[in-house]
């Protein structure tokens, strides 16, 4: 399918915007806003042009460096397109929230837009080289955004973030090197096909001996760091807390999805059988991520760290869903297949919903910080619903969405994940319910301490959201309600992709 190279345009657009922003000084934010709005429009256009059968569409192919298996191969299915839309929304939100960048705004917004290009590139790439290029491209701006605009302990936080992710990348690179040496291909669809017939493992074994299992571990490790999965999560709280809040929105809203996306696009399709072998330990880790993430959030006093750990918890549900469905299912077992499809639908929805909700929560933190001179401890606030009822109302909706209240977006994904996971891995799913419970306490505690109770002195004259902020936040909160009430807006496009993916996966 050839035609207008819309995916290339989508990736190049933020890079062009970044170049302009670099040289436009104080007007950089305006440039970034225009660029991200155009990107969102383009991403939505891509969303409407998906093939109805859930296969990969809008394909662009061109020779690049054939002798190295490198090909310019782009395309999206429902999963990729949804991530494009999410990235575009989150970047727009982040730019919107960053109206207080006084120090080198040109560089700041240039880096943000480069990061967006990295996201777009990695969500559309179908060749390892291309994918890896953008995967790394997103890492560099993220590092500098933390390092140059972060809080007091930004230096160690940025370094830790960089080193962890680099180590993960190295593991990925080695694994793919081995795959390339064995198969001569770096093309995701082609390798998926080889894996679905079991040829991939045979070829790897023929070339390198019985190492397929270790390659699977390498790939898993690379993504586990990015998601993050316990015990690879230790970089996250420091990075999320030290990064300026608009950057944290990008980190949690969009970049953490690169990890989950990688599991779905690369790890499971290529190494499904190996992952199925170690499904039990992986499930244990996923459940640990869910429960301990929530538990750690309960122990925090800093709002950013609360939401950071609650992000770990929410992405844990994605891991739970993915590893729960990684089990061989007989072709005749319709009910198990339905469970797999439900879990995968849930995972994809959860990726989108968590991105939206978490980005919104960090936005609210940014607003609260800017009004109180940088305070962000739970105990620094109180009774905000009196001086700032609109803020309390809108943030309350976002908090309840994070809690997973039915009627809001957060509920749908988690519900589908549990619907799918219970029949496939009932122990893990049951224990994970504990995570839901703890999260509920955490969120309710935040609501209680921040919105209710006596108003401390520093919050007495806390200004409510002004019109600009209301205008910017309304669409986000509206989207939470819309997806909560009409999840089929997303599911209708994602479900064909889910069915298509599951037919190509072999466990």
């Amino acid at each position: 399918m050839s035609g207008f190279p819309v995916l290339t345009l989508l990736t190049v657009l933020p890079l062009v915007g970044a170049a302009i922003a670099l040289w436009s000084g104080r007007h950089a934010r305006a440039v970034a806003l225009i660029t991200t709005l155009c990107s969102l429009a383009l991403a939505l256009f891509v969303w409407t042009r998906l093939p109805a059968n859930g296969s990969i569409g809008l394909v662009e192919r061109a020779a690049w460096a054939p002798s190295l298996g490198i090909e310019y191969h782009l395309g999206v299915d429902g999963l990729g397109a949804l991530m494009l839309v999410l990235s575009a929304i989150v970047t727009l939100m982040s730019v919107d929230a960053a109206h207080r960048v006084h120090h080198q705004p040109g560089l700041y917004f240039g880096l943000v837009l480069t990061l967006e290009a990295g996201l777009f590139g990695s969500f559309t790439a179908l060749n390892f080289f291309h994918w890896f290029l953008f995967w790394e491209l997103s890492l560099i701006p993220a590092f500098f955004l933390i390092k140059l605009w972060g809080g007091a302990r930004r230096g160690p936080a940025a370094t830790q973030f960089f080193i962890y992710t680099m180590a993960g990348s190295a593991a990925l690179l080695v694994a793919f090197l081995a795959v390339f040496v064995s198969t001569g291909s770096m093309d995701f669809p082609h390798l998926t096909l080889l894996a679905s017939t079991g040829e991939l493992e045979q070829m790897v074994t023929a070339h390198l001996g019985p190492v397929t299992f270790w390659l699977a571990i390498g790939v898993l490790a690379g993504f586990a760091v990015k998601v993050p999965m316990i015990p690879f999560h230790t970089w996250l709280p420091a990075a999320y807390a030290e990064a300026p809040s608009p950057v944290t929105m990008l980190l949690t809203g969009a970049m953490s999805k690169m990890g989950v996306y990688g599991l779905l696009r690369i790890a499971i399709p290529l190494f499904g059988a190996q992952i199925a072998q170690i499904r039990t330990p992986l499930l244990v880790l996923a459940v640990a991520t869910v429960v301990m993430g929530a538990w750690a959030a309960a122990a925090q006093k800093d709002l950013k760290r609360v939401f950071a750990y609650s992000s770990v918890n929410h992405l844990g549900y994605c891991l739970l869903g993915i590893f729960a469905l990684a089990v061989p299912v007989a072709a005749t077992d319709a009910s198990a297949q339905a469970s797999q499809a439900a879990a995968l639908n849930g995972v994809i929805l959860q990726m989108f919903n968590h991105g939206l909700t978490a980005a919104a929560l960090f936005w609210f933190v940014a607003i609260m910080q800017s009004r109180t001179g940088g305070h962000r401890g739970i105990d620094d606030f109180g009774g905000l619903r009196k001086p700032a009822p609109v803020l309390a109302g809108l943030m309350g909706i976002a908090l309840f969405s994070s809690l997973g209240l039915p009627g809001l977006n957060g509920f749908v994904g988690e519900f589908l994940i549990f619907r799918g996971a219970f029949p496939l891995a009932w122990v893990g799913a049951t224990v994970s319910l504990l995570g839901l419970l703890v999260t509920a306490t955490v969120i309710l505690t935040v609501i209680q301490k921040v919105f209710w109770g006596p108003v401390p002195e520093r919050c007495a004259s806390f200004p409510d959201l002004h019109h600009g902020e209301r205008l910017a936040l309304a669409p986000v909160i509206g989207l939470m309600l819309l997806i909560g009430l009409l999840p089929q807006l997303i599911v209708d496009s994602v479900n064909p992709t889910v069915v298509n993916l599951l037919t190509h996966w072999r466990f």
Binding site: W64, L68, T159, A167, A170, L177
Partner: protein, 502 residues
């Protein structure tokens, strides 16, 4: 046409040497004009002969009684390296814009060195190649001894001695090959067809290969490289790392491997897993990769970090050569090009952009200077150069190191495992240097603060900006579109590995 790169450079050197003293501006512009013309010729030659095999440029009898010809020719490998030389020459002139001491002599030596390098890459006659190889060493000595810094006489002497020892080894091997072949020709093409006896190749190969590899910075004969790089003036470090080390690697490939292919055959016995010269040199290569990286990690002098990183990166070239397969050797040639560009850029940043303004290269002192704020251009140039040097995808180094690793994996996965450690350490030392030199949070000392208020650092000049953009742009372009070089290198490597006179 490519031959004119040689003639033009030497002519330029001659004119500059004869130029009246005291006119530095004239000398600079003249040198730049010659370097740009050379680059233009190299580019034209590269584009015009795209998709073609080896083309003979000039073939004149020189010493008929010995069968020596003035034989210049170029295949894909030569053309890529000539292109590299052209780029390095232009960048070198741009980053030497501030040379005030004996400017015309400086550029005369500089162009003579460049002319010799062009000559080596284009010679297909053994004696001619060797002559150009020696011509390249002499100006290098003077560039370091006259315009150098830290312990320059020592470094210049060390470099010259190492080079001459290497040359002597090469010369013995070459003369023996000439005598043994009995073909009465010193043409590389003819000698390649001569079919030298296997037993002869077995001892001639390690001799010639080691001789050349000394100049390529092979461990444990690398020690001239870091001291030489550090002592040399910026442009000379750039050329040293950028093209001179490539002369050695090129000789290893063009003469060592091509003339004595059977020197790499197994010995018939093995000791601790080492069963051929190939295993020996591959082992030295991977040791060099890791050793260079580890030593770079603990340096206190910024320039030594880059100096040792060159040893590490050149290890990839040698490892690629020892794979003896299509993808690995192609990767080695790619790595020669890539490292030439990136090392040039790194030395330019450290030596010219930073040192000329701060007058210190000690990381501990740079740490207190807040260079990311005071020299943002240098800081971001180093970010890009560092990313390229780490081998991040999108830059030329990623492609070449990937190829070398893929090629090595097909031969011996252990080589890859060890080299992989080198890559990880490579990320670490680049990272450390970047953090310490530019993005440190350390509080400035009183002395530095005083200086900061007293005098601002000199602004970045147009020549520096041009040079940085050119080198970084080339690395990025080749990283994103490696096909442009691969199309030239791959067929040439294929012919060369298939034997039969290159």
């Amino acid at each position: 046409m490519l031959a004119w790169t040689i003639y033009l450079s030497f002519a330029g050197a001659l004119v500059l040497a004869l130029l009246p003293k005291g006119k530095p501006a004239v000398a600079r512009w003249l040198a730049l004009a010659v370097a740009v013309a050379g680059l233009a010729l190299a580019v034209t030659g590269f584009v015009a002969s795209m998709g073609q095999g080896r083309l003979v440029i000039v073939d004149l009898p020189w010493v008929p009684s010995m069968g020596v010809h003035f034989l210049l020719a170029a295949d894909g490998i030569s053309r890529v390296l000539v292109l590299l030389t052209g780029l390095a020459a232009v960048a070198g002139v741009l980053f030497s814009w501030n040379i005030e001491l004996r400017t015309n002599e400086f550029f005369a030596f500089f162009l003579a060195l460049i002319g010799g390098v062009y000559g080596v890459f284009l010679s297909f006659d053994l004696l001619l190649l060797f002559m150009f190889y020696e011509i390249a060493i002499v100006p290098k000595y003077f560039l370091i001894a006259i315009w150098g810094s830290t312990r320059r006489e020592y470094a210049a002497m060390k470099l010259a001695l190492y080079s001459f020892v290497g040359s002597a080894m090469v010369l013995i091997g070459l003369l023996a090959a000439y005598a043994t072949s009995g073909s009465h020709s010193t043409s590389l093409i003819a000698l390649g067809h001569a079919g030298l006896p296997v037993s002869f190749q077995m001892w001639a190969f390690p001799l010639v290969f080691t001789g050349f590899a000394i100049l390529a910075g092979m461990w444990p004969f690398h020690t001239w490289a870091p001291t030489g790089h550090v002592a040399a003036p910026t442009a000379a470090s750039m050329l040293l790392a950028g093209v001179v080390m490539k002369l050695g690697a090129y000789g290893c490939l063009r003469v060592g491997i091509a003339l004595f292919p059977h020197g790499l055959d197994p010995w018939g016995f093995s000791f601790a897993g080492i069963g051929s010269w190939r295993d020996v040199f591959a082992l030295l290569a991977v040791v060099g990769i890791v050793y260079g990286a580890l030593v770079a990690l603990v340096q206190t002098d910024f320039k030594f970090v880059i100096g040792y990183s060159s040893v590490s990166h050149m290890g990839f070239v040698l490892l690629g050569l020892m794979t003896l397969n299509q993808i690995g050797v192609t990767g080695a040639v790619m790595q020669m090009f890539s490292h030439g560009i990136i090392a040039g850029l790194l030395f330019a940043i450290v030596g010219r952009l930073v040192y000329n303004r701060t007058h210190t290269r000690q990381l501990a002192e740079l740490e207190t200077m807040h260079l990311s704020k005071r020299l943002p251009f240098a800081a971001w140039a180093f970010v890009i150069a560092g990313m390229a040097s780490m081998g991040l995808p999108g830059f030329s180094g990623f492609v070449s190191e990937l190829q070398v690793l893929v090629g090595a994996w097909q031969v011996n996965p252990w080589w890859v495992a060890v080299a992989g450690v080198g890559i990880v350490v490579g990320v670490a030392y680049t990272w450390r240097a970047l953090q310490k030199a530019f993005f440190s949070d350390a509080l400035p000392s009183a002395h530095v603060l005083e200086q900061e208020h007293g005098q601002a650092l000199a602004p970045i000049t147009w020549s520096e900006v041009t040079g940085v953009i050119m080198l970084a742009g080339v690395s990025l372009f080749v990283g994103l579109y490696p096909k442009i070089l691969l199309d030239a290198i791959e067929p040439a490597v294929k012919t060369l590995l298939a034997g039969g006179g290159q």
